[in-house]
Subunit: 270 residues, 2 copies
Amino acid sequence: MAPTVGGGSLLVAWQLKGKNILIVGGGEVASQRIDSLLTTDAHLVVVSPNVGLNPRTKQFIEEHPDRITYHDRSFSGVEELDAMDMVLTALDDVELSRNICIMSRNAHIPVNAADIPDSCDFYFGSQIRDGPLQIMISTNGNGPRMANLVKRKLQKALSGFEGQTITKVGALRTQLKIRAPGVGGELGKRRMKWMTNLCNAWKEEELALMDDTMMQKLLDDGWENDCVPSFSKVGGSRRLNISRCPAIAPTLGFFAGALCTLLVVLVRRR
Amino acid sequence: MAPTVGGGSLLVAWQLKGKNILIVGGGEVASQRIDSLLTTDAHLVVVSPNVGLNPRTKQFIEEHPDRITYHDRSFSGVEELDAMDMVLTALDDVELSRNICIMSRNAHIPVNAADIPDSCDFYFGSQIRDGPLQIMISTNGNGPRMANLVKRKLQKALSGFEGQTITKVGALRTQLKIRAPGVGGELGKRRMKWMTNLCNAWKEEELALMDDTMMQKLLDDGWENDCVPSFSKVGGSRRLNISRCPAIAPTLGFFAGALCTLLVVLVRRR
């Protein structure tokens, strides 16, 4: 692992609900940008002549008329930036792209220009999403290919339960805040400690399997008595997940080996 | 996996080189913010009475006098925001925190208030860093505990080679751009295709082991002839990584089983 000081970016989860985003261009990169931005609840404005739209961009525009305003023309000038909160260019015309960056920066609007890293206020990275869970992989401008390689590795490491677990833990946290309201202070610390203890004590699958009844029981018997009841104590039950047990493969191998040798010995005895 | 439309954030890698960041507060959360921001090459201004500094914040201030300007006082008013590009609050005083958010928003400065998600323009997430590789895990406000759980899983899935591999691939890409310069167009596409083919054809450890001589040979023999030479062809050599081979465990099990059975049979024969 390399040292953490300097040379990196600040990775953040930007909240764009209700914000206006301008996308100049309609090709493949634009379609990737639209895909990322549909994740948020922003309103998108796409400016590109129809001939420049790739099939995926077209599909997004058709499927989300409430989320995307489309203008069938080229970028017309600085007035396009009025009321925009973010600007993205995805153009083959590098000169125009750089000009739009300068205009945006003058107007204090964050800007990203595809393929011109030195003109960008921020970079996109490879992303993984599972419900409320979002993971971003950034190589700090060292190429999307490597980001995708790392992405595939990380995808394999995820069980697929994570999104559901986070949703359930979030729901419990919301209910706990209703029962014991307030921001910060001693109560805030006690809430955080109790949630942490629960997440440490229960397995991920157990957290994912929480239902409303169990949450109520957890709060009544657990939070009120300052303890963390077990999964089964609040009425949970689950099946054994064989694929998760690392001892299975060598054990199966052991018995296969024993059986084969036994057969060989028996055959040779005859 | 949940659907990708709506309810999420835009995950971005923010470029803060040379920017001014105001951090109001000096406790534990402030120290985490400083740690994240030292990753970037931003200049930090920390405003907090000395009694409110936690040991880690103090250490950062002492160790990085060139990166952090420290003011031993409380937040004094809106003039503190002059020339700031980003504002972070890490205060127990929720009222003051909310006020700073309003002032920042009025001045079009992105703001994050610790523990008050509805006042934030962006969230921080759990992060992993290995040189140029940065990974962020965000639960979209559903709790840092779950983000840490996912982080530990992802850390286990990484080989530790990723940072070095990305650095080497980035260096090769830079050399390729010197040899075949220009932004976009047919040449840009050919460059991208060749880099992709290389990353697909070579193993991660092989890419991490590239040295200058090998890079030159790759460009001379590979790029110039529009092909991707193998790792050994450009002079690379590497050791077999046994721990990466998933067949090892059951195979060892098989032989252990065979040996045990053989011993039992032999003992019973006597």
